[in-house]
């Protein structure tokens, strides 16, 4: 065999956030801090397997009646229904109306992808690749990749982060909604916006919903942090439930990576709220076809853990406690970081650190300042200025605060 088929395959750049962690790993500096990739850390800066997860895993391993047979294409039924309930609420009228269904997917990414693939095939006509897909500016970078690889050719930003006021650009956002072509798809972060940590208030959500309903725009929620943001499942699902109450048909891509700490088991759920059960049934049947050529059927372990937990009141309560533990530690770090920056007299206002919510904070550091942080101080964060609050601990917070102080005062 002479010429290689793959001679012309170019070297692709590494995914930025993983490159950051790789560089961090290689760094020998004793005070290095990783504020990059979004995974929870304890105050000892260690990964945390939730106690309820450990408990349930033991139950699973000890249960000799369990086997490793295929799940149905759409996933573990008890998982799907329990997961949708978590998002929509136990007493959701939509669930009572039998117009809520779900597809168990590989993490939040998988849920987004199945939803995107479905929309490309069946939404706004059939096989329509030109429906505009709106993602927030900025957004989780993989949103672009998911919709692009699903075939969409017109992926646009909607105004979101206002760098000057360090908050939500509501006017810009509402304006984009008014101007978007009808039937455009909007990817909304249900809570704990990634990367800015800035969420609309309830009143702001109401304004968003009003325009979306009036202009016939499609609602696609990305819900990766329910419970993790405020510590309350209900509070973090408010926007989703509000939209459902307003009569929207919508998708919710749920991830259980963070709120269950099950990152590597790839536990996700695409919740589908349709007008009625007939529409729901046909939609799910088409999603089944998409799943079959993507991964056939989803992995069992993570779904079993989540399902057992959500469906048992005791375990559910224990889980809520574990989630609150994580959320509380993040809130504490936010408080302390802001307090330390104020104490240092670091130029600028730092209220956004405590006003923002969830795992991430958009510090407002510019690329040069970020470079300083990484190169001079060995504090690793994304070029956008995004930090993972979970990477902060009582042991490193002084060093980080000092580093930010230096970056802001020394580098313009």
């Amino acid at each position: 065999i002479a010429m290689s088929t793959f001679t012309d395959v170019p070297q692709a750049p590494p995914v930025a956030v993983f490159k950051l962690t790789a560089d961090f790993k290689d760094d020998p500096h004793p005070q290095k801090v990783n504020l990059g990739v979004g995974a929870y850390r304890t105050d000892d800066c260690l990964p945390w397997v939730l106690p309820v997860v450990k408990k349930v895993e033991r139950l699973i391993v000890e249960d000799e009646s369990l086997n490793h047979e295929y799940l149905p294409i759409l996933g573990l039924p008890e998982f799907r229904s329990a997961a949708s309930k978590v998002a929509l609420g136990d007493d959701s009228p939509a669930i009572k109306d039998n117009r809520v269904g779900a597809v168990q997917c590989l993490g939040g990414t998988g849920a987004l992808r199945i939803g995107a693939d479905f929309l490309q095939r069946w939404y706004n006509g059939t096989n329509n690749t030109s429906t505009p897909i709106y993602v927030s500016a900025p957004t989780w970078e993989n949103h672009n990749g998911v919709f692009k690889d699903a075939g969409f050719t017109d992926i646009r930003p909607y105004h979101y982060w206002d760098g000057n006021k360090r908050g939500l650009d509501l006017d810009g956002l509402l304006d984009d909604l008014e101007k978007a072509p009808e039937k455009s798809v909007f990817v909304l972060h249900a809570c704990a916006h990634n990367p800015t940590g800035t969420d609309p208030t309830q009143d702001e959500w109401k304004k968003i919903a009003e325009i979306m309903m009036r202009r016939n725009l499609f609602v696609f929620f990305d819900s990766a942090y329910q419970g993790f943001a405020s510590g309350s499942l209900e509070k973090d699902a408010w926007a989703i439930r509000y939209f459902v109450s307003q009569g929207f048909e919508l998708f919710v891509a749920q991830s259980f990576s963070k709120n269950f700490g099950l990152y590597n088991e790839r536990v996700g759920n695409l919740t589908v709220v349709a007008r009625d059960s007939d529409n729901l049934t046909r939609t799910l049947s088409q999603m089944e076809k998409i799943v079959r050529t993507t991964w056939s059927n989803p992995p069992s372990q993570g779904a079993r853990i989540v399902s057992k937990t959500l469906n048992c009141p005791e375990l559910f309560a224990e889980w809520q406690g574990n989630v609150k533990t994580m959320a509380d530690r993040v809130l504490l770090m936010r408080d302390q970081l802001r307090a330390k920056l104020l104490a240092l007299g670091t130029p600028g206002t730092w209220d956004h650190i405590t006003a923002q919510i969830g795992m991430f904070s958009f510090t407002g550091l510019n690329p040069k300042q970020v470079e300083y942080m990484v190169k001079e101080r060995h504090v690793y964060l994304m070029a956008s200025g995004r930090i993972n609050m979970c990477g902060l601990t009582s042991k490193n917070i002084d060093y980080v605060a000092q580093s930010i102080h230096e970056a802001v005062t020394k580098v313009q």
């Binding site: 088929t5 397997v49 998988g110 929309l119 991964w295 992995p299």
Partner: protein, 411 residues
């Protein structure tokens, strides 16, 4: 409370779009479940059953799970390419420990979502980067899901002759003829062993000739190996064709599944490999595979890969696994023999030798759709319309009943 303004609701269901038809393979199981006949048999989906007709969790799997539980590992994200210990062991299992490819590091192997996920990543990769024609040649027939996988990835499907219904065996002449006419640089998909759905595999001498023609036509060989160990009971024997092709200089694509041979079906354990020209090409290909994987599911699930890696990398467990795979394959072989014996006993005048000659989980009985329908309706024996039965669903307890039913609809 609920304001459903029907006119304004964004209904994403286009009015005329219909329910998707039930998946032909998995749909069989659904119908089986609804049947109340105590003698019913599910010979549809290919999942191994023991002689009591029950799912079989391998001992080596249980032992590996216990070991893993002790370790109290964290649940941090795997890299996009998955668990390193797994993908290395996975490649070694397929290629052999002494493989020149492994020594030179010119393969890239990534962990995938079992065989389906592997094929899809491969198909996506070809769609994006393959310079040759967009045609993928499948054997006729092939696993039903191959076609939509490649199609959804943007490739086009063609076929080469494979199964000879007149002999219930391999149409070697037809295959060679068709392959020799495939346009250069096209992709040809080959089942490494235990062809699904027919159970008909080429003999080594035949593989050698196939390799020659593929070389002559400069085709890209894509192996689907979902049954290594499960076919003959011997993992090296079942990988022979893949290894031979590589020795002959083919830089192959390879999909592996651990669903059947480790019984890890629902854990979704698989691998996708590209044998490249050199390590530089392997790096480039790897980087692009990651770009493809990330927008589908970001990174793969840990549990199954950890179990598989533990088994492959722990000598005691590895030996135990080889024994258990051998056991599963043997039971299947025994059932084949018993089925043929049973048919003879029933007084069937047909030649059922192909049931014994075929290999792996599936048997292409040669039954016609009308006969299949009767077998299902009158005897509650569930199988796919093409006459394929999963031998794994046959037990010493029901083989007689099956023989009786088959004879009844074919006499």
């Amino acid at each position: 409370w609920l304001l459903l303004r029907s006119g304004k609701c964004t209904s994403f269901m286009v009015g005329w779009s219909s329910n998707g038809p039930p998946d032909p393979i998995l749909g069989v199981t659904e119908a089986f479940k609804r049947d109340t006949n105590p003698k019913k048999m599910n010979l549809g989906v290919g999942a191994y059953r023991n002689d009591q007709g029950k799912p079989f969790v391998l001992s080596c799997v249980r032992k590996a799970e216990a070991l893993i539980a002790e370790k109290q590992l964290d649940k941090e994200y795997l890299g996009i390419g998955g668990l390193g210990e797994f993908s290395k062991a996975c490649a070694q299992l397929a290629l052999g420990a002494d493989s020149e490819v492994l020594k030179s590091g010119r393969n890239i192997t990534v962990q995938t979502i079992s065989g389906t996920g592997s094929l899809r990543i491969g198909a996506n990769f070809l769609s994006r980067f393959h310079a040759g024609p967009r045609d993928v040649y499948l054997p006729k027939p092939s696993w039903g899901n191959h076609t939509p996988i490649f199609r959804d990835a943007g490739m086009q499907l063609k076929a080469y002759r494979y199964y000879d219904p007149s002999t219930c065996g391999f149409d070697f002449k037809g295959a060679l003829e068709d392959i020799s006419n495939i346009p250069e640089q096209s992709v040809i998909l080959l089942h490494a062993c235990a062809h699904n759905p027919t159970g008909v595999d080429p003999r080594p001498e035949q593989w050698k000739e196939i390799s020659e023609v593929i070389k002559k036509r400069n085709l890209l060989a894509f192996f689907d190996m979902a049954y290594q160990g499960f076919a003959s009971g011997d993992i090296d024997r079942d990988a022979w064709a893949v290894r031979y092709f590589i020795e002959q200089g083919h830089n192959v694509l390879l999909s592996q599944s651990f669903a059947k041979n480790m019984g890890l079906y629902g854990e979704r354990v698989g691998g996708f490999s590209v044998v490249c020209k050199d390590t530089d090409e392997a790096k480039r290909v790897e980087s692009q595979l990651k770009i493809l994987i990330r927008p589908i599911y970001s990174n793969p699930p840990m549990n199954g890969a950890r179990i598989a890696a533990t088994i492959l990398n722990t000598p005691d467990l590895y030996s135990l696994w080889l024994e258990e795979v051998h056991g599963m394959a043997n039971r299947i072989i025994k059932m084949r023999e018993q089925l043929v014996a049973g048919l003879k006993k029933e007084g069937s005048s047909h030649n059922w030798q192909h049931v014994i000659d075929q290999i792996g989980m599936f048997c292409f009985t040669g039954l016609k759709p009308e006969q299949v329908e009767r077998l299902t309706k009158e005897f509650s024996v569930y199988m796919t319309k093409d006459g394929r039965i999963s031998m794994a669903g046959v037990t010493s307890g029901n083989v007689g009943y099956l023989a009786h039913g088959i004879h009844a609809v074919t006499k």
